[in-house]
Symmetry: C2
Subunit: 327 residues, 2 copies
Amino acid sequence: MGEFELLARIRERLPAIGPRIHLGSGDDAAITLPGGATATSVDALVEGVHFRRDLAAPAQIGHKALATALSDLAAMGAAAGEAYVVLGLPAGFDEDECVELLDGMAALAERTGTALAGGDLSRAGELFLAVTVVGHAPTPQSLVRRRGAKPGDVVVLSGEIGGAAAGLELLMRPTLGEGLEAGEVGGLRGRQLEPLPRLGAGRALAEAGARAMIDLSDGLGGDAAHIARGSDVKLEITAEAVPLAAGSRRVFEAADRDPWQLLGGGEDYELLATLPPERLADARQLVGETETGLALTEIGKVVPGVGVEIRLPGGGCVSPAGFDQLA
Amino acid sequence: MGEFELLARIRERLPAIGPRIHLGSGDDAAITLPGGATATSVDALVEGVHFRRDLAAPAQIGHKALATALSDLAAMGAAAGEAYVVLGLPAGFDEDECVELLDGMAALAERTGTALAGGDLSRAGELFLAVTVVGHAPTPQSLVRRRGAKPGDVVVLSGEIGGAAAGLELLMRPTLGEGLEAGEVGGLRGRQLEPLPRLGAGRALAEAGARAMIDLSDGLGGDAAHIARGSDVKLEITAEAVPLAAGSRRVFEAADRDPWQLLGGGEDYELLATLPPERLADARQLVGETETGLALTEIGKVVPGVGVEIRLPGGGCVSPAGFDQLA
């Protein structure tokens, strides 16, 4: 395919440029006028490592690459701003598939108010996507880091987890979904293929006074450990308090896997945060207002010490590393 | 290799964080406070497409990936700010090579005042690097775009070109360098393996009133055509006026290639700009002061019309597409 013709087709599909953008795609660099603090993160998805082209459509791959990058902005409490996209295109990936991939990305960009402001294309041996996202906030202090959790804080989780891991099982072995309702199957597959960054919840939690926050990409234990290490505290989490996605437990049982492994599955892109207990009611209300119907669940507490303890029913507990590696 | 141990080794090697950075690598996102306009660009280098691991050392690959990205900031007249780096690491690329690659990048970062502020690592089938760079300027209007050239402007070029193309020939066939001095061989290889972004010259040209500017990554004709198309003008370039890197002509002659193909070789990362003629003397002085000894050469003029014409000695001329595709 001709690079220039493909670039022309791509530019046609990009959403209208955003309010901060003075010059979008097509020059040596994009020009923006941030007007405050910026949060910048970069994420890569590589074929065979992060996705399989036989399980995910090009539009879903494009969606997920932008979603995982934006999820890092959500975890800071930043508002989505601009995205810059590198695509590595293998010989077997044709121009229509490339446009479909960009359409999937552009749809999520429009939904989240993100401007696709620039990018680069290259031939490659395998399909890969690297997405840099820039988010905005009034000041550096209005963004929430991983450090900052204090003993006495409650540990809260947005939404439900386990759906992405169960969805992956379903994609690889569709017969595992035989006992589920169609809506549950679709819901779980969607959590794996088209996760949504919790941008609204992230801003709400920042506004409500979250002291530390992270998005759940690697698994509950491992990501909680980042907060514990960054804040020099211990996070005690009650496994039974963690809301699991509808049907996820049954998929794992059908696959002969311990359903508690769902906690370590990762890729749910929900937010884990710590808050002073007196801020919990406000946080719940703000999150529910910003992302309609999204629950915020108290799943544990911050105590003096180091590391993470996830308490299982019956009195057992596991270290986060052991826990996530079960999965 | 363990991702966390490798990340720890990488963080140790990153240059001190810059004045605008409130939070560097290690959280969900980096936090910066830009304080003006930003220019953002992203560039990817892929093994087998942009470099060969048998011809370039890891440190040179790291250097070149950052250099090509920063060159886009130079072409806007922006000051280098932050860089965000994605590495795709194949199985055969070990931890020491990865650290060597980052050292090459970090050395150029330090030399150019760029902060390596974040990144992402992934396994991959082949080595690839995607580098996003953010540059800074007081206002959007102080950055120079591709559009803006006007009939009557002079066309100027920083430094010399052809060195990167001749250097590539030398790397593939070292015997071609037998008639050259050692310094010439080293110089040409260096132009291919470790190009330098013309950040100082770019800011000087912006300050001197450049109306349009681009860096020469694809070749003189093709890159000039971007200015012509963006500005809706014609660029007339005199081939004999273009300074060629010392020894490059002899390498192409030894390789039985037409030396005029050096103009289309690309990868020199010199700057091509247009200026009102009355600004030329100032521009020359500013460029020479900012990058000691760097020449600014008048190689053509902007006229009404469309496209690019490169006039060869003896009266012939070629269209840029035909010209660059010769190479």
